[in-house]
C-alpha cells in the first residue's frame, strides 16, 4: 500500500477515535461529577438518618430525665418562705480553692430527703448524680458536708467548673426561644467561657424579684471535664427549685451505640463504606461499615449531631472506587474500543473495496489491452490490404478511390487508438520504455504528415513543415510517430477551424525539438497542465461530436518524458502550440 494511502487510512481511523475519546472524556467527567454529587447526597441522607437516630435516643433520654427530675411532694418540702440560713458556712474546699457555699444547717433540717435522691441515683442508669438547687442557686442536695457520700464528693469535684461559672439554669443561657420539649433549643454554652466568679452557686445570690425571667423550665448544659463533654439536664420545678441530673456519659453513649447499626457480616447487606461518630476531639466514639479508611483522610461527608451533642459529628468515609466513577470511564473505554473496531472495520472494508476496484480496473485494462492486441493484427491486415488496394486502384473511379481512402484513414486512426490504448496499458505496468533506433526525424515527421494529409486537407487544414533535423539520430521512431499522431489527431479533432498546422523541427546538441502550432481555439492557460492528465478533455463543448479516449496527450507526454524530454504547451499568439523535446542519441552514433 502506498504510504499516502496508509496515512489516509490511519487518519480516517484515528480522527473519529480521537474525537470520540475527547467527547467521551468530557462525558465521563460530567458523569463523574454527577455521580459524585448523587453519592454525596446519598451519604448525606444516610448520615441524616443516623443523626435522627441519635436525636431519637436523646429525646428518649430527655423523657427519662424529665421523669427523673420530677419532684414528688413527699420527697421535698418546697417551702420557699422558710427563712434561709443566715450564716454562710465555710465549707471544706474541694480542690485547692476555698469555696463558700450557702447550705442548710444539717441534713435533718434540709427540705430534701437525701435518701430519696440517693435511691434514684442508685437505680437510674442514666444518672451519675442528681442535684437540687434553690431558686437562688444554693444547693439543697447534695451537700458537701459530713453526710455526703464519696460519690457526692466526687460529683462536686467533677462539676466544679460549672458552679464556679455562676451558672443560673434557664436564665442566662443562650437567648433562644423556649422550647418545651425540643432538645435542640436547650442551652449548650461552654462553662469555661463564663467563669465570672470564683465561688459556687449562690456566691452572688440574686433575689427572685430582680432575677431575669426564666426563659425555659428545662434544658441541657454541657461542659468539658476529664475525657470529653459532660452533660447536665436540668428542670425547674414550680417552686423554683432546679433539679438537675449529671448524665452518665457512658450510659448515654452506650444507648446511642445501641441505636446505630453494626457491621453486617454479609457484605451485601453491609454499608459500603464507613460511618464514624466522633466527638469534639475527633476521636471515634462508634463506627460501623466494613471499609477501613486510611488513617488521616478526610471524610466525604460530615454532619454535626443535634444539640446538646452538637460538637459530635457523623462522618461518612466512602470506598474510593465507589465515588470515582469507574463505570463512566469504563463506558467511555468500551465505546472507544467499539468505535475503534467499527472504524477499523470500515477502513478495512473501504480498503478492500478500493483494492478490488483497482484490481478490477487493472483487469479491465488488461482486458482492453488483450482485446486491442487481438484487434491489432486484423487491423494491420486491413490497413495493409487497403493501402495495397489504393495503389492498385490508381486508375479506378474517383468514388472508389475516395471510399478506399476513408478505409485507409479510418484504419489508421483505429490503429493509432489501439496504439494509445496499448501504450496506456503499458504505462500502467510501468513498461513505457523507449527503444531507440537510428533514423532521420524529419523523414518520420514527413511520413506522419503524409498519413494525416488526406484527413486534414479534407477539413481544410493547410500543412506546412519546416524540417531542420534531417540527419540520422538514435531515437524511438515508434514513440515519435505515436506522439505526432496524437498531436496531429488533436489538431484534426479540435483545431481544424484554424485552417493551419505548422510543424517545425530542429536539433540542438542532442535534443530534438518539434513545434506543432495551430490556429484553433487554443487552450486556456489554467488548463494547460490539466490536458495532460488522463481522461481529461477541455470541456464538454469540445467533446461535442468529437470522439476520443482522453489518454492521447497523457501518453504523449509520458513517452516524451521517458525519452528524456518533455511535451509542453508554449505561449503563442493564436491557437495552441505544442513543443516536443526528445533527448536523442548523438548524430555520430551509428547502430
Amino acid at each position: 500500500m502506498k504510504p499516502r494511502l496508509f496515512a489516509i487510512y490511519l487518519f480516517i481511523v484515528l480522527a473519529p477515535l480521537g474525537l470520540l475519546a475527547w467527547l467521551g472524556g468530557g462525558l465521563a467527567r460530567d458523569e463523574q461529577a454527577r455521580v459524585e454529587s448523587r453519592f454525596r447526597e446519598l451519604m448525606a441522607n444516610q448520615l441524616a438518618v443516623r443523626k435522627e437516630a441519635v436525636s431519637t435516643v436523646m429525646a428518649a433520654t430527655e423523657r427519662g430525665l424529665m421523669e427523673l427530675t420530677e419532684l414528688p411532694e413527699s420527697s421535698i418540702q418546697l417551702d420557699l418562705n422558710r427563712p434561709e440560713s443566715p450564716s454562710q458556712a465555710e465549707r471544706p474546699a474541694v480542690g485547692k480553692k476555698s469555696v463558700k457555699m450557702e447550705v442548710e444547717n444539717s441534713p435533718e433540717n434540709s427540705p430534701v430527703n437525701p435518701a430519696f435522691f440517693r435511691d434514684r441515683v442508685r437505680t437510674a442508669r442514666l444518672a451519675r448524680q442528681i442535684f437540687v438547687l434553690k431558686s437562688d442557686g444554693g444547693f439543697v442536695f447534695p451537700l458537701l458536708d459530713g453526710a455526703a457520700t464519696e460519690d457526692e464528693k466526687r460529683f462536686f469535684e467533677r462539676t466544679r467548673s460549672v458552679w464556679e461559672s455562676g451558672i443560673r439554669f434557664g436564665v442566662d443561657e443562650d437567648n433562644l426561644p423556649p422550647g418545651p420539649s425540643d432538645a435542640r433549643n436547650a442551652g449548650s454554652g461552654n462553662t469555661q467561657s463564663r467563669s465570672s466568679s470564683g465561688s459556687w452557686g449562690a456566691a452572688k445570690p440574686v433575689s427572685l424579684s430582680n432575677a431575669a425571667p426564666f426563659e425555659r423550665d428545662h434544658g441541657w448544659h454541657t461542659w468539658f471535664w476529664g475525657n470529653g463533654v459532660q452533660l447536665v439536664f436540668w428542670r425547674r420545678a414550680d417552686s423554683g427549685h432546679v433539679v438537675g441530673v449529671e448524665v452518665d456519659r457512658m450510659a448515654l453513649l452506650s444507648d446511642i451505640v445501641s441505636a446505630l447499626p453494626d457491621t453486617k457480616f454479609d457484605p451485601s447487606a453491609s454499608l459500603n463504606g464507613r460511618i464514624v461518630l466522633s466527638d469534639a476531639q475527633n476521636r471515634v466514639i462508634y463506627q460501623w461499615g466494613a471499609y477501613e479508611p486510611t488513617e488521616g483522610i478526610a471524610p466525604d461527608v460530615r454532619l454535626p449531631v443535634d444539640a446538646p451533642l452538637s460538637m459530635w459529628t457523623l462522618n461518612y468515609y466512602s470506598q474510593p472506587d465507589t465515588l470515582s466513577v469507574g463505570g463512566a470511564w469504563f463506558n467511555v473505554g468500551t465505546a472507544l474500543a467499539l468505535s475503534c473496531v467499527v472504524v477499523a472495520g470500515l477502513a478495512v472494508y473501504f480498503f478492500r473495496e478500493n483494492s478490488r476496484e483497482i484490481r478490477e480496473a487493472s483487469q479491465r485494462v488488461s482486458f482492453v489491452n488483450q482485446v486491442s492486441h487481438e484487434l491489432k493484427t486484423p487491423l494491420t491486415n486491413i490497413r495493409m490490404y487497403a493501402e495495397l488496394l489504393e495503389v492498385r486502384m490508381e486508375d479506378a473511379d474517383e468514388t472508389s478511390r475516395e471510399n478506399l481512402a476513408v478505409i485507409v484513414e479510418e484504419s489508421q486512426r483505429l490503429s493509432r487508438m489501439i496504439g494509445n490504448v496499448l501504450a496506456f496499458a503499458k504505462r500502467q505496468r510501468g513498461g513505457l520504455k523507449p527503444n531507440p533506433r537510428r533514423c532521420a526525424p524529419d523523414d518520420i515527421v514527413r511520413s506522419v504528415i503524409e498519413r494525416f494529409r488526406p484527413a486534414l486537407t479534407a477539413k481544410g487544414v493547410e500543412i506546412s513543415f519546416a524540417g531542420n533535423a534531417p540527419g540520422e539520430i538514435s531515437l524511438d521512431s515508434d514513440f515519435l510517430e505515436q506522439i505526432l499522431g496524437n498531436l496531429f489527431g488533436n489538431v484534426e479533432k479540435y483545431a481544424a477551424v484554424g485552417g493551419v498546422m505548422d510543424v517545425r523541427s530542429g536539433m540542438n546538441d542532442d535534443v530534438l525539438t518539434l513545434r506543432i502550432a495551430d490556429r484553433g481555439p487554443g487552450i486556456p492557460k489554467a488548463q494547460r497542465e490539466a490536458v495532460f492528465l488522463p481522461f481529461q478533455r477541455l470541456s464538454d463543448r469540445l467533446t461535442d461530436g468529437v470522439a476520443g479516449t482522453g489518454i492521447g496527450l497523457t501518453i504523449a507526454r509520458e513517452q516524451a518524458r521517458n525519452h528524456g524530454g518533455d511535451l509542453t504547451i508554449v505561449e503563442s499568439e493564436e491557437g495552441a502550440t505544442f513543443q516536443l523535446t526528445l533527448r536523442v542519441g548523438g548524430k555520430g552514433d551509428t547502430a
Partner: protein, 513 residues
C-alpha cells in the same frame, strides 16, 4: 435466734442475736447472716470492729430449677486473636451455648474495628444455626471494645427480664482502641449496666489486654473477671465463668444497713457502697447458689457500760428471688455485749468475719503495691507485698485459715515477679485476684507455676473449730497501716486499749420485728 416463715411466697424473717444473726425463712430463700467481728466489745471505750453481712444463695436442685438466662457473648476478633486464640474462643462459646436450653436467650457479638451482631438475641432452640454463625468468626482489625459491649447490652435489653439472668460475657485479648477506652470510662459503662441489672463477666486472654479496664468493667457491673494466660485454658475457664450465670438465684439485691446511734460506719471494704450518715447501702446484681457474698463494714462503736447489750445495726435485705419470681425482703439485726474482760473480748472473735476482713485489707494492700509498681517504685512495692505476706501468714496462723496462708504465699510469689519481664503477667494475676477476693471468691484460680505456691481451695471451712485464744493482730485491724510503719513489725495488740473490767453475761438472742 428465731425464724418466722411467712407462707406463701413472700417471707419476712428477722432475727436478732448478739453478734450473730441468721435469718432463714425457707429452703429457697437467701440466707442472711449478720455478724460482728467481735460480738463482745470492751466496755466504756470507743472501739472499731467489723460488721459482716453475708448473703448465701440457696441450693438449686431438682425442685428448684435454675432461672433462665439472657446472655450476650461478646468476642474480640481483633488481629491479635488470630490462630489458636480465636479457635479456642469459638469452641468455648459453642460449648457454653451447648449448656443452654430453649428457655434461654443468647446473642453472639463479635467486634474488631467495628461490631458485628452475629446472632441477634434469640431463644436457644436451633443451636446448629448459632454454631454456624460462630464458626464464621475470623480474626483481624482493631478493638472496638466499647461498641462490642454496648451492642451486647442492646441485645440483652431486647429480652430483658428481671426473672432472667441478664449477663454479658466479654472475651478480649487486646487493649480497647476504638471508642471510649479508658478503665474509668469502661468502669462507668459497667456501673450503668449494673444499675440496669446487666452484669459483665470479662475474660482477659493472654498478656496483651488491659486488666484495669477489664476488672473495672466487671467489678462496677458486679460481674466477674478472669485472667486466662494460655489459650489452652480458655475453654475451661470460660465455661467455669459461664456456669456462674446458671447459678444465679437472686437478683436486684439491695442491702441496707442502718447503724444505731453510737455506731458510725467508717468504710465498706472491698466493694462500692454508699455511706450516708448512719446508713450504708450496697447493691449487688445477683447472689449465686451456695456461694456467700458479703458486705463488710468497718464500724466505730462508742463504748457502753460493761454488761450492757446494745443493738449495733439493723440490716434489711431486698432481692428478687429467681426461683419464685417474687421480691423477698428479709431483715435482721445484730447487737454487741460490752465487757471489761479482755480475754472475753478476744475469745469472742468471729473467725469468719476476721478472715474476710484480713482478706479485704490484704487486697487493699495488694492494690497499693500495684500502684507503687506502676509508679516504678519496685522496691517499695516489693516491701509492701512481703509485709502483706507476713500479715496474711500471721493472721492465717492466728485464725487457722489455710486460705489466708495460701494468699500470703501468693504475695511472696508476686513480690518476686515485679521485674519488667514478669510484671505484665503478674499484674494481670494480681488484678484478677483483687477482684475475685473482693467479691468473696476465696477459691480463686492460682497463677501458673512460675508464681509461688498454688491457690488455696478453701471456703470457710472449719466453722466450728475453736478460734485461737491469742489473736494479737485482729484487735487492731483498722490500723493495719501501722504494721508497715512499725519497724519491729510487731503487731500492736488490744492491750494498748484501756479495758474496763466489767463483765456481763451474754444476752440471749431475741426475736424482733
Amino acid at each position: 435466734m428465731n425464724t418466722t416463715p411467712v407462707p406463701p411466697k413472700r417471707c419476712v424473717a428477722t432475727a436478732l442475736a448478739v453478734g450473730f444473726a441468721v435469718s432463714v425463712a425457707s429452703a429457697d430463700q437467701v440466707r442472711l447472716k449478720v455478724e460482728l467481728g467481735k460480738p463482745v466489745l470492751p466496755a466504756d471505750t470507743k472501739h472499731t470492729t467489723y460488721l459482716k453481712v453475708g448473703l448465701t444463695g440457696f441450693k438449686l436442685d431438682g425442685d428448684v430449677k435454675r432461672p433462665p438466662v439472657n446472655v450476650a457473648i461478646v468476642l474480640d476478633k481483633s488481629g491479635s486473636m488470630q490462630g489458636e486464640k480465636i479457635r479456642q474462643a469459638r469452641e468455648a462459646a459453642k460449648l457454653a451455648i451447648g449448656r443452654l436450653t430453649a428457655d434461654d436467650i443468647v446473642s453472639v457479638i463479635s467486634y474488631d474495628s467495628t461490631v458485628n451482631v452475629l446472632v441477634p438475641a434469640t431463644r436457644v432452640s436451633d443451636k446448629s444455626a448459632i454454631f454456624q454463625q460462630i464458626d464464621r468468626i475470623g480474626a483481624g482489625g482493631n478493638t472496638a471494645l466499647f461498641g462490642g459491649v454496648s451492642k451486647g447490652a442492646a441485645e440483652v435489653r431486647k429480652f430483658f427480664d428481671r426473672n432472667r439472668v441478664n449477663r454479658i460475657f466479654l472475651l478480649s485479648d487486646g487493649k480497647a482502641n476504638v471508642g471510649p477506652s479508658s478503665p474509668g470510662e469502661l468502669g462507668e459503662l459497667g456501673k450503668s449496666l449494673g444499675k440496669e441489672g446487666i452484669s459483665v463477666t470479662t475474660l482477659g486472654l493472654g498478656l496483651g489486654y488491659n486488666e484495669d479496664l477489664m476488672t473495672q468493667l466487671a467489678m462496677k457491673s458486679d460481674g466477674s473477671h478472669s485472667f486466662i494466660e494460655e489459650p489452652s485454658q480458655l475453654t475451661e475457664i470460660f465455661n467455669e465463668d459461664f456456669g456462674e450465670a446458671l447459678k444465679v438465684v437472686a437478683q436486684k439485691v439491695e442491702v441496707r444497713i442502718e447503724c444505731r446511734r453510737g455506731v458510725r460506719p467508717v468504710r465498706v471494704l472491698g466493694r462500692d457502697a454508699d455511706i450516708a450518715g448512719q446508713t450504708v447501702v450496697a447493691v449487688m446484681n445477683q447472689i449465686y447458689s451456695e456461694e456467700e457474698q458479703f458486705v463488710l463494714v468497718e464500724v466505730e462503736v462508742d463504748g457502753a457500760g460493761a454488761g450492757q447489750v446494745r443493738d449495733i445495726a439493723t440490716v434489711s435485705l431486698g432481692y428478687l428471688n429467681m426461683a419464685t419470681a417474687v421480691s423477698d425482703r428479709l431483715s435482721s439485726s445484730v447487737a454487741a455485749r460490752f465487757t471489761a474482760s479482755e480475754s472475753e473480748v478476744a475469745k469472742s472473735v468471729n473467725r469468719d468475719v476476721m478472715v474476710a476482713c484480713v482478706a479485704q485489707i490484704a487486697v487493699e494492700n495488694n492494690i497499693k503495691a500495684t500502684e507503687l509498681r506502676d509508679q516504678g517504685r519496685i522496691d517499695e512495692a516489693r516491701r509492701m507485698l512481703l509485709q502483706n505476706r507476713d500479715y496474711l501468714t500471721l493472721n492465717g496462723e492466728a485464725l487457722n485459715s489455710e486460705f489466708l496462708r495460701n494468699y500470703g504465699g501468693g504475695q511472696g510469689g508476686q513480690a518476686l515477679n515485679l521485674d519488667e519481664a514478669k510484671w505484665n503477667a503478674n499484674r494481670k494475676q494480681m488484678r484478677y485476684e483483687q477482684q475475685a477476693i473482693s467479691q468473696g471468691k476465696f477459691n480463686y484460680r492460682a497463677p501458673s507455676q512460675a508464681f509461688g505456691p498454688m491457690r488455696g481451695q478453701i471456703g470457710v471451712s472449719g466453722q466450728g473449730a475453736a478460734v485461737q485464744q491469742q489473736i494479737p493482730v485482729l484487735g487492731d485491724l483498722p490500723q493495719m497501716g501501722r504494721l508497715f510503719r512499725n519497724s519491729t513489725n510487731r503487731p500492736p495488740t488490744t492491750n494498748s486499749i484501756p479495758v474496763q473490767q466489767r463483765q456481763q453475761p451474754v444476752a440471749p438472742g431475741k426475736a424482733s420485728n
